[in-house]
Symmetry: C2
């Protein structure tokens, strides 16, 4: 029963919100999850344990954990406890990323080919892509994803070896870099930038297109509590891919 309410104030934003107790519990647990301290599969403390730790009633703890369920961070099983979920990097609102699943959903066979792979000290451009300030080592992998017999998507990925050192020696013969990374990295956040541009000569050749063909380009940067993890650029032939995103007060209609 150490003192609780004292240790706030310092590190966070200039906001001076004395944070409700249930919100503080929620934040504490969430921090431990996104930091990787409690990796996916971990059982988090029982409600009655948190009740004791924070010296509050069960409803308060329950409110905090229920919100984490709604956020998708944990799942709860009666009699068993509450567990950290596997992160699903793809948000349900923007269906991308799982290239293999995506291709199979089209009823086509999926394959991939590593075009190029190297390690190096991050160049200026690399650091910009990963939003790094200092020097860092990176791994750079280019992959061609194939649907049926036709090129489907070109992937250009940078992995920050400071955060994911095991990527230094990984060979991506079994799984493409994206799938591999999903299993290595705990909960992370991502930002996407989507635009259209013309296929340059090299890209056009790899994707079996005419130079200048419009392509949908999705750039995603992923980071977690420790720092930038990866930056990937996915280039799709414009006519082969449509991003779909759905919003609304509820999922209550076609």
């Amino acid at each position: 029963m150490a003192d609780e309410r004292a240790r706030e104030s310092v590190s966070r934003k200039i906001e001076k919100k004395p944070l409700a107790l249930h919100a503080r519990i929620q934040r504490d647990v969430e921090d431990r999850i996104v930091s990787g301290e409690w990796p996916p599969g971990t059982r988090i403390p029982f409600e009655h344990e948190l009740t004791a730790e924070y010296g509050c009633s069960r409803m308060t703890v329950n409110k905090a954990l229920s919100e984490l369920v709604k956020k998708g961070l944990i799942e709860r099983r009666r009699k068993s406890g509450s567990y950290v979920r596997q992160p699903e990097v793809l948000s349900a609102v923007l269906e991308i990323h799982q290239l293999e699943r995506e291709v199979r959903a089209l009823g086509l066979a999926y394959a991939f080919r590593i075009l190029q792979s190297c390690r190096r000290l991050a160049s200026d451009e690399d650091r910009q892509r990963l939003r790094l300030d200092g020097p860092a080592h990176v791994r750079h992998v280019k992959t061609l994803h194939i649907a049926g017999s036709r090129p489907f998507c070109l992937e250009d990925r940078l992995i920050n070896l400071e955060e994911v050192p095991q990527a230094e020696t990984a060979d991506f013969s079994d799984a493409p870099p994206g799938s591999w990374l999903l299993e290595q990295v705990p909960w992370s956040a991502a930002e996407h930038r989507i635009n259209a541009c013309a296929a340059a000569r090299a890209e056009a050749e790899l994707l079996d297109l005419k130079e200048g063909t419009p392509c949908l380009v999705i750039a995603r940067r992923t980071w977690n509590a420790a720092g930038s993890v990866t930056h990937v650029t996915l280039t799709y032939p414009g006519d082969m891919h449509t991003l779909v995103a759905q919003f609304g007060p509820s999922a209550r209609l076609s």
Copy 2:
């Protein structure tokens, strides 16, 4: 027709969950909001009124309403009550739609020009865009959005006059159709489809591009409890626009 009964029983809720009380309250209130029965600005019943109506404790009502706050459907003011919010069709995760705001955010002057506007019985293509089965009247408006002195975006919009009859006579001299619609229609859901394609001759001319220039095309269909409201296609020169979407366990990083 033979198995209409069977189809009915299947098509409705497959799951028969006796829905917790707080969930039922939440759904009831949400239904009245999305149906337009309680339009934006409406004060919804006080907690103690709902407490009486449902014969439950205040915490149960509070839980339901708190969740609607998190969903963004209502806002609550102490001493005053709880109010239905103005819908923000744009979800925070995918920043699009408010073209004027978007342009001004770039530090440029915003203007728009109605290129074409007509009413008609929905053609097959119209019905497909709006996902309509039966006959319907629609209004078709093409608008050019301008940032500074350069074309910024081409908008091709279809409005379902069965759902928004007041669009029949609206002239869009003050506000472009998108902004106008925002004020007419209660809470709605939307689906986006995003891809890249080459500017056709007519588009290229209007956007001041060379034919074949890659463009980012965003198609959005909007509907509410009553049916389809509008379908709009926004065409951006590929180099003038980037969609940004951010996901993650929390907004807790750059």
